[in-house]
Point group: C2
Chain length 123, copies 2
């Protein structure tokens, strides 16, 4: 979990620390304009689409815990748990590709089912 040797992990962790601190502007400074993100609901293309995906989640975020983080020159993986308003424990994993300090590709994995259930329960 050392980040000193991995350029990709340094970027991934800086991005993670920013959005989990509710600083979406700072988080987006690590996102490439042409990011391609494979999210559970489909493929997001471009920074605007990515911000539109992250913004509602950052709004309901009440806490986070980093569970594991690894990387090499171009790829990093972070695994974490989050606390959110509708779902008390929502773990996720992000596998990112980093080029020149910017995240150009991302595979975002989390379980949508509890969020879907919470939304339906709320009506």
């Amino acid at each position: 979990m050392t980040e000193a040797g991995s350029p990709a992990l340094r970027t991934a962790l800086a991005y993670f620390r920013a959005w989990t601190s509710h600083d979406l502007d700072r988080a987006m400074s690590y996102i490439d304009d042409d990011i391609v993100c494979h999210a559970p609901a489909g493929v997001l293309k471009g920074a605007d689409a990515y911000r539109g995906f992250m913004a509602p989640f950052v709004q309901i975020l009440t806490g986070s815990e980093l569970l594991a983080a690894f990387g090499d020159d171009t790829t990093a993986v972070i695994v974490y748990d989050t606390r959110t308003v509708p779902v008390p424990s929502a773990p996720a994993a992000e596998c990112v590709t980093v080029v020149n300090g910017k995240i150009t590709g991302s595979r975002f994995i989390f379980d949508r089912l509890p969020f879907d259930t919470a939304r339906k329960t709320q009506g």
Copy 2:
């Protein structure tokens, strides 16, 4: 993604290759009797519960692709996509703790929603 230096990653990849080859018996040889696994539906305790969780998934598995794999002495993370009978693309991440060549702890992350939707559509 080199596994030579990481004992935990060697075990995680051997386990992954076994179950993605439909060899659940071999996969279970890497699972500690007292494994604690945080899966989307809740906490699974013990190898029997873990096997009961994996067996139905291995049955519907038609293909897999490893996307990233990292590890150190005791922790490994693997990220992969799977093809399954009901869901054509079901990516997942596993963050595992390895002690003496056995997986003693696991955080298993995937999206249950498409499986839930497929089940409801099937009736």
